[in-house]
């Protein structure tokens, strides 16, 4: 017998016979000896089809009653009972649409519950990302989780509504005003009264639901009084991950589950001409071949047999479509029809450029990059009954959005969305729209075809070339005019980006590759001219921090002083599927903005930190820049460092900063590098990064995110570029050798994080700040060290050597 560490159950109980026996999401349930049940859980288990007629405020019960697979139907997120249930046994179960990818948000959400309800952390059971149980909160992305849960309509308001109701109930039961009540770990006492005169949450509710709407008048706890939030509570998922017990989506194991693999086109856009199923006849493993339009997959009894079948299956594909020549990509991008938009346009930039004492221009280039999750994506689907109103589907997926996936799978399979349940199970870090949705579609298509549960595991090449949606390439052309005092008068930016598909939703399974292969259209880009902007939104960080953001006569929406400003963005059709990749567009735009700001500072021979401060108007922005510079012991002087030699190894420091999405987290970074001018190799030796995301929920967790974001930013700056062959029409970045990333063994920078923690402002996002500014910080440091400006990512040794040769 193998020694097995049997994990405890902490998923919704096995209401359905094909539920995986156990999913470990965090360790506290293992430490928690209570029966992990809740009143709502019991209700769901016992009520079954008898939900009609109940009025318990947990959603659209009529719809639920008609659904064989979504017992709670469409949960109404305006009702407290959709978020929290407190059992007569004192169990506290919280339901959330915001999921865990290793960013630590399940820990933060648990802290939020403990804080607002005044209960011990270990008592809280958090269920997230299950269309059968959790409210629809869209996707977990865009540094929006904290914003969502702490804002009106989110988890905090549900908790506060529940807390206020419990205070009222306790007031009645103990016969004292609420002002005389104190609550300790879910038990009410009378202040200064007999400790025996007490009543608990469970006793108050006695298993009943709250039956309340979220109350917009509730007052959340003041961050200045936090005792759980604001502290470095250890991540709840790490012990089981360290022990190798954690069950990722790769470990969902169902009775009768078969193993699938996909067979993808050998070149971009190739279509199926013929599938010779006889080519796998006689192979072991009960091989089944599934074809639907251009979707081809195999199913077998084991993974190994499925892999052998993929190798043997003879598929004839059409020839390649014409791809743009990669060597000419950035020129090609600027020649395509585009959909255009202005972020700002003050209308006077041509005139102001003429008046400027000094004019500068530069072009910045950013490649296609991929998410490259460490795990090739995996999902499990159990589709019963084919298609139509009698069919059902359950999907175990590491998707960022269970509800959007439910709706898109419904269309993909031809099954009503009420008959589809998507259950989030964590995969490896995804960093955006990687292959998790595609592989879920693949598993659903295969399971539907064979009528049994199917697990699909992508091979690495499947993930890289035909599973995920790349972060798009960017071209950015900059112009600036500076007055006689060295102050920026005018700033213009014209950028080009590409798009194909995006996150799938109810009507667009074709937004990702698997849906498109199965025959669903990918909505085409519709070229359109830009119209004058009506409101300033810098959500894509297209505008630099240094403009006023005055639009249509409105008050300034930007963070800077430059009044003459134009930011025009062209979006063109991409030959490859694209989607959000950690700091989508913001990173590419910020590389251009913050590199160009450095070029202007150098042109007027002013220290880059001081020059930024001279053009910033927002006090929080100024503070975060000052804090990074101070913590890094910034050497105040213009760049480049004139003391450095033109040969050998030289060092330099660079700064970059951003207000992420224009309103979602201030961040500044000082990068220190050494550059070997003989080899062109850049080594990032130190990163000092400061951040203001409002009141910090978990300081160590935030530092962990900032550190990882910074080092992932180093990887994207120095190594990462999706490559393809125009000759074969194929993506050639098929694995980690052909898509290199930062790896162990490369000297590690010292990473120092500085947390500003203002308590009197709203919480903002945090997870994408540092990565956004890393490329520019490194490029600016390389310029400081060498006088060579790097305007094209990644900063390969070849490009560094070319820039060194060009510096004169």
């Amino acid at each position: 017998m193998i020694r097995r560490n049997v994990p405890p159950t902490n998923l919704p109980a096995a209401i359905w016979d094909s539920e995986p026996p156990s999913i470990i999401r965090h360790s506290w349930s293992a430490l928690n000896k209570r029966k992990p049940e809740s009143s709502r859980r019991d209700f769901l288990k016992s009520a079954g089809a008898l939900m009609v007629g109940f009025s318990m405020g947990i959603g659209n019960l009529k719809l639920a009653a008609q659904s064989p697979i979504n017992p709670t139907g469409l949960l109404d997120a305006t009702k407290v009972d959709s978020w929290i249930s407190i059992g007569a046994d004192e169990s506290i179960t919280v339901y959330s649409g915001k999921v865990e990818f290793g960013q630590g948000f399940s820990t933060v959400q648990t802290q939020l519950v403990a804080e607002e309800l005044s209960v011990a952390l270990h008592r809280i059971k958090l269920i997230f990302g299950d269309t059968g149980f959790t409210p629809d909160q869209g996707v977990t992305s865009g540094s929006q989780s904290t914003v969502s849960e702490f804002s009106p309509g989110g988890l905090r308001q549900a908790l506060d509504t529940a807390r206020d109701a419990l205070f009222q109930m306790a007031s009645q039961q103990l016969d004292v005003p609420t002002s005389q009540l104190i609550v300790r770990n879910g038990v009410f006492f009378v202040i200064g009264g007999d400790p025996a005169n007490r009543i608990s949450y469970g006793q108050l509710l006695q298993g009943r639901p709250f039956d309340l709407a979220l109350n917009s008048q509730t007052v959340p706890k003041d961050p200045a009084t936090y005792t759980v939030l604001g502290t470095s509570v250890p991540r709840i998922d790490i012990p089981s991950k360290a022990a190798g017990q954690f069950q990722y989506v790769q470990h969902v194991r169902l009775p009768g589950m078969l193993h699938g693999r996909v067979v993808r086109p050998p070149s971009v856009g190739a279509t199926v001409m013929n599938v010779d199923k006889s080519s796998v006849a006689g192979l072991p493993g009960n091989i089944q071949v599934v074809v639907k339009n251009n979707f081809v997959g195999v199913v077998a009894d084991t993974q190994w047999h499925a892999i052998q079948a993929v190798k043997a299956l003879n598929v004839t594909w059409s020839g390649p479509v014409t791809l743009p020549d990669q060597a000419n990509l950035y020129t090609w991008m600027q020649q395509q029809p585009s959909a255009d938009s202005y972020t700002v346009n003050s209308g006077d930039t041509d005139q102001m450029l003429k008046q400027a004492a000094t004019k500068l221009s530069a072009q910045y280039l950013y490649p296609y990059q991929m998410h490259g999750p460490l795990a090739s994506s995996c999902a499990v689907a159990d589709v019963r009954g084919g298609s139509g109103s009698g069919a059902t589907a359950k999907i175990w997926s590491a998707t960022q959005g269970v509800y959007p996936q439910r709706d898109s799978v419904a269309m993909l399979l031809g099954i009503p969305n009420t008959n589809v349940r998507v259950i989030f199970v964590e995969g490896s870090g995804c960093y955006g729209l990687n292959g998790n949705d595609s592989v879920s579609f693949d598993a659903a298509l295969l399971s539907q075809a064979v009528g049994q549960p199917v697990r699909v595991q992508y091979m690495r090449k499947d993930e890289n070339v035909s599973g995920e949606s790349y972060g798009p390439a960017h071209v950015t052309n900059m112009n600036a005019g500076v007055d006689g005092n060295g102050q920026i008068l005018v700033w213009t930016q014209e950028g080009w980006s590409l798009t194909k598909g995006n996150r799938p939703n109810a009507t667009t399974p074709g937004n990702i590759i698997s849906g498109a292969l199965a025959g669903f259209p990918t909505p085409p880009l519709v070229p359109a001219a830009a119209t004058p902007p009506k409101n300033f939104s810098n959500n894509g960080n297209a505008a630099p921090p240094y403009v006023t953001g005055v639009v249509d006569g409105n008050p300034p929406g930007g963070t800077g002083t430059v009044a003459s400003q134009q930011v025009l963005t062209h979006t063109i059709a991409s030959p490859f599927f694209t989607g959000p990749l950690r700091s989508p567009d913001r990173l590419q735009n910020t590389f251009a903005n913050e590199s160009f700001m450095d070029e202007i500072a150098a042109a007027v021979k002013v220290d880059p930190v001081q020059y930024r401060l001279r053009h910033l108007s927002d006090p929080r922005f100024i503070a975060v820049v000052n804090e990074a510079a101070k913590s890094a012991s910034w050497d105040t002087r213009p760049s480049p460092n004139s003391a450095n030699a033109k040969t050998g190894v030289v060092t330099g420091r660079g700064i970059a900063c951003v207000l992420y999405e224009g309103d979602n987290g201030y961040c500044a970074m000082v990068a220190e590098v050494s550059v070997d001018q003989a080899t062109g190799i850049i080594t990032v030796t130190r990163i000092v990064t400061s951040q203001d995301s409002g009141p910090v929920s978990n300081p160590d967790g935030l530092r962990n995110q900032m550190e990882g974001g910074a080092l992932q930013g180093v990887s994207r700056t120095l190594y990462e570029e999706v490559q393809w062959s125009t000759d074969t029409g194929a993506i050639t970045s098929v694995d980690w050798k052909t898509y290199p990333v930062f790896q162990f063994g490369v000297p590690l920078p010292v990473i120092e994080t500085v947390l500003l923690n203002p308590l009197n402002v709203a919480q903002t996002g945090a997870g994408e700040c540092t990565i956004t500014i890393t490329p520019a910080a490194i490029g600016n440091a390389v310029f400081d060290a060498t006088g060579a400006r790097l305007r094209q990512v990644p900063f390969t040794p070849q490009r560094v050597l070319a820039a060194l040769a060009a510096r004169g």
């Binding site: 790490i238 017990q245 790769q250 084991t302 930062f742 162990f744």
Partner: protein, 149 residues
């Protein structure tokens, strides 16, 4: 073969990668499929005490040998000191890669108890962590080295 201290025998094609047997037949969650190409290290196990990539190691190679996975080092309630070090340093994001740094790190440090952080980072060459939690993982391994010295 012996897996995490218990004998195990199986009847599969000898070329079947060890990883699939550990994950699917033995239902172990420690070694994981990352690339299937020995390029990332998520599938790392100790075979005869040495770290190997189980995604490209045929099961026949393990025949008669001892396999240790991170599942076999310790548990949530009774973690191995190296697991404790990772927990103490909060040394991961998603944790999917963890078998590589933990087992290559353990094998190296057990042989080089005075290793510095730079030595440890060098010893992990060829492994990937895509969340880029490298600095914490190296710090955790240095902690393990220090505390087990």
């Amino acid at each position: 073969m012996t897996v995490n201290g218990s004998p195990y025998s199986t009847d599969v094609e000898p070329e079947t990668p060890l990883l699939y047997v550990l994950q699917d037949d033995l239902k172990l969650n420690g070694p994981k499929f990352g690339c299937g190409l020995a390029q990332c290290g998520a599938c790392t196990v100790l075979l005869g005490g040495k770290p190997i990539r189980s995604c490209v190691t045929p099961i026949s190679t393990a025949n008669g040998h001892t396999v240790i996975t991170i599942d076999g080092l310790g548990t949530v309630h009774n973690p191995h000191p190296i697991q404790t070090a990772f927990i103490t340093e909060q040394a991961m994001h998603c944790g999917y890669c963890i078998s590589g740094p933990m087992l290559y790190g353990k094998a190296f440090i057990d042989q080089h108890p005075n290793a510095t952080e730079a030595d440890i980072n060098q010893a992990l060459t060829g492994l990937l962590c895509r969340c880029h939690a490298h600095t914490r993982m190296v710090r955790a391994l240095a902690r393990y080295a220090k505390e087990s010295a």
